[in-house]
């Protein structure tokens, strides 16, 4: 018998449970079967239960009248509108608080993270205290705390605190003056947009020129002057309207101007402070991850300190910072669902009311999950795209 024959014989004699490939197929089939069986079990039980309790299924309730009011809707909404519109109002409220939260969190987190690294002992210890205290207390407790504080510490509308003329703070909310509606503001917005586009083109042109000739161009200052100057010019050209819509007391409450409810304020402050403590730690770790040799090397090839920061340190630190930062942004968005506990009408709160009124728990919870999954996927897709752009290009 020759060698090849022997091997063939041995392979043929292996029982299938000793063959990794075949065993793998058996395992997978078993796992799939188990999942399918559990799925079927749940499905059939649910069907039986729904029939027994005569609960409707499907999303037919979307078109029905919701019959409940929602505080501070971003689009016009009344109790006579449909459930679909009520849920949309909820989604918009969630997006509003998440968007504002993400912006503020990034700014405060960056600031505290840099302060944590300050050579000034007092500054660094203060930043450390901020991080430790806020990270170690549950966010829901913080929301309750701020909500309670607003309710107990702030005065009635009649005795509002007015830190600046036109700005009022009381236990019904925060009121700010805004410019009166005027067509020029639309044009100013367009001018700003145009300034952004011009800046982008300038950036491409200056990069091409720098690659060719080595000449640099003051990009940042030109961006600033364009984006401030162009809207300002439009405003001046149209006669500089200065009419302001100032909030004023009527009856028991303020009307006019821009207003935020205490619920929104407590939610935003709670989420921002909690998340910014985590962002600060991420920023600190990111900056510390860039080795000191990089700073020295950059200085030794003659870069000025400002350029060392913008061309050497920050690009490398950002690479470390971005992935965990994305996670924190997603956490903030998901934590905004705690709004229901303090009565801000976010998506979960509206969906919960819908569940209570229609009794259709499965559809309601599924909707909550789908909406958050979509928000998560879109955010992480965007951050992944940004991460790829800043990632290290290796040979």
């Amino acid at each position: 018998m020759n060698q090849a024959n022997k091997t063939a014989n041995v392979t043929n004699n292996i029982p299938f449970w000793h063959d990794p490939a075949k065993r793998g197929i058996v395992f997978q089939a078993a796992a799939l079967l188990l999942v399918l069986m559990i799925g079927y079990y749940i499905f059939s039980n649910t069907q039986a239960n729904l029939r027994r309790q005569s609960i409707a299924t499907g999303y037919g309730f979307f078109g029905k009248e919701a019959g409940f009011e929602i505080g501070e809707p971003m689009i016009s909404y009344s109790a006579a509108d449909t459930y679909a519109k009520a849920l949309l109002v909820g989604v918009l409220n969630t997006l509003k608080v998440s968007f504002a939260g993400i912006l503020l969190t990034t700014l405060i987190g960056l600031f505290v993270g840099i302060a944590r690294l300050s050579k000034n002992w007092l500054v660094s210890k203060l930043a450390q205290g901020y991080i430790e205290v806020l990270q170690n207390v549950p966010v829901l407790l913080q929301l309750f705390f701020w909500y309670g504080l607003f309710h107990n510490a702030l005065p009635l509308p009649r005795n509002s605190i007015s830190p600046l003329p036109g700005v009022f703070i009381n236990n019904r909310g925060f009121y700010l003056p805004i410019p009166e509606a005027h067509p020029v503001y639309k044009w100013m917005l367009l001018a700003l947009l145009a300034a952004f586009i011009i800046s982008y083109l300038l950036k491409r042109w200056s990069k091409a020129r720098q690659d060719l000739t080595g000449q640099t161009f003051p990009l940042f200052s030109s961006f600033l002057s364009l984006s401030i100057g162009m809207p300002l010019l439009v405003w001046l050209a149209s006669g500089a309207p200065t009419g302001m819509d100032v909030p004023h007391l009527r009856g028991f409450n303020f009307i006019g101007g821009l207003s935020f409810s205490p619920e929104f304020g407590a939610l935003l402050i709670g989420l921002v402070l909690y998340t910014s403590a985590f962002v600060a730690e991420i920023v600190r770790a990111g900056i510390q991850a860039v080795s000191h040799g990089q700073t020295e090397a950059a200085a030794s090839i003659g870069l000025r300190p400002k350029l060392v920061l913008t061309l050497v340190i920050l690009p490398q630190a950002l690479r470390v910072i971005i992935p965990p930062l994305t996670n924190q942004m997603l956490n903030l968005t998901k934590n905004s669902s705690l709004a229901i506990a303090i009565g801000y009408p976010d998506f979960v709160a509206v969906a919960n009311t819908t569940i209570n009124q229609t009794g259709q728990a499965i559809e309601g919870v599924a909707l909550i999950m789908i909406v958050y999954l979509i928000i998560s996927l879109v955010t992480s897709a965007f951050m992944n795209w940004y991460n790829k752009r800043t990632a290290l290009v290796e040979r």
Partner: protein, 363 residues
């Protein structure tokens, strides 16, 4: 011949200037370097002088510690009486009043275990076996039914006992599940891998609150008629399923950090998959991810507070309920500060522990 001894005349020792050492030197170096830092320090000192004395006056000088609510409403300072008068309800909720030594005993046992296990040199197999036994003992002390202890239904466990129950059993059940999911995600079998990936990403994409809603309103629909599960257990299941996905991602990080050579060496020795994982890969991987696992424990501990929303009486809810008593309405700052302190102590201890472990494991 003896070597000649050369004596060098002692030179006068020059001391560093007084402004460079000691307290003055430290202050100059850390607080007043440069114009900007000096300005910053002065600004902060000004802010501290302006804000700290009023806070101290509010919290300690003008405050009331054991008065009735009427006296509190007239006082200028903090009303800590809201905490001292309701302390037993805040901490133990509806646990029978005359039996409340039992949660205290269980928590003392837990604290004892934690303090003993705190030192990494004491980690061994005996301790690993002692932990489940200890947790079981705590459960028996709380539940009773034997040793002539009256039985206390889990529905009555509330306050800090419920918070600890949800956190500890949540994590101990989620941990093995998370390891399995991580192994599944790294598996070469496409169906197993796909199932794990879908589960992990799905759970990580939704808020815990939606899982809790699912447990409280959907789970009863999933079960056949006549079978009902206690509300606490349902929330516990949601917390376990949720935490497992996060643990899976942490463990996956550890698995990826193990060099390929380790896997290949194990295979070359002829170890089976289970032997390879149990003897070679997991011991190394799980050790490297101890610090992030502690972070997950911290967030699981904090996240148990979310059960407030589905109406369970954990530590946060008992505080909340105390404040809805008309006598104590309006003293939310004091009550929440007290509850925050409890959470803070627990989390701060854990995060310090994790930080120390991190430095120990790095070496």
């Amino acid at each position: 011949m003896e070597p000649a001894i050369i004596s060098i005349p002692a030179t006068e020792e020059i001391k560093p200037p007084i402004t460079g050492i000691g307290v003055i030197g430290w202050v100059r170096k850390n607080l007043f370097t440069g114009k900007f830092n000096t300005l910053l320090t002065l600004l902060i000192l000004f802010a501290i002088v302006k804000t700290v004395p009023p806070i101290i006056r509010w919290a300690f000088v003008d405050s009331l510690w054991s008065s009735q609510s009427q006296a509190c409403k007239e006082a200028a300072g903090a009303c800590w009486s809201v905490v001292t008068n309701n302390i037993r309800f805040i901490l133990f909720g509806f646990y029978p009043y005359d039996q409340q030594w039992r949660p205290i005993a269980a928590i003392a046992l837990l604290v004892g275990f934690i303090i003993y296990s705190h030192n990494r040199r004491r980690w061994n197999t005996k301790l690993l076996i002692a932990w489940p036994l200890g947790l079981a003992a705590m459960g028996i002390i709380m539940y009773g039914g034997i040793f002539s202890l009256p039985e206390v239904e889990t529905e009555k466990w509330s306050g800090i006992s419920l918070t600890l129950l949800l956190a500890i059993f949540g994590l101990s059940a989620a941990y093995p599940l998370g390891v399995l999911l991580a192994l599944g995600r790294r598996s070469r079998l496409p169906a197993i891998k796909a199932l794990s990936v879908v589960y992990i990403e799905l759970i990580r994409g939704v808020p815990l609150i939606s899982m809790l809603f699912m447990a409280s309103v959907m789970l009863p629909l999933f079960l056949p008629e006549g079978i009902t599960i206690n509300k606490i257990l349902r929330a516990q299941v949601a917390i376990i399923l949720f935490t497992a996905a996060y643990i899976a991602e942490v463990v996956r990080g550890g698995l990826q950090a193990i060099p390929r050579g380790q896997y290949e060496a194990a295979e070359a020795l002829g170890l089976s998959y289970y032997q390879k994982m149990r003897l070679i890969v997991l011991p190394q991987a799980l050790k490297t991810v101890i610090p992030p696992t502690v972070s997950i424990l911290i967030s699981a501990f904090k996240d148990t507070s979310l059960v407030v929303i589905i109406g369970l009486f954990d530590l946060l809810k008992t505080t909340h309920v105390t404040l809805s008593n008309p006598d104590w309405m309006g003293f939310s700052n004091e009550a929440y500060l007290f509850t925050s302190l409890i959470y803070f102590v627990g989390c701060f201890f854990m995060s310090n522990f994790s930080r120390r472990l991190e430095t120990q494991l790095k070496t």
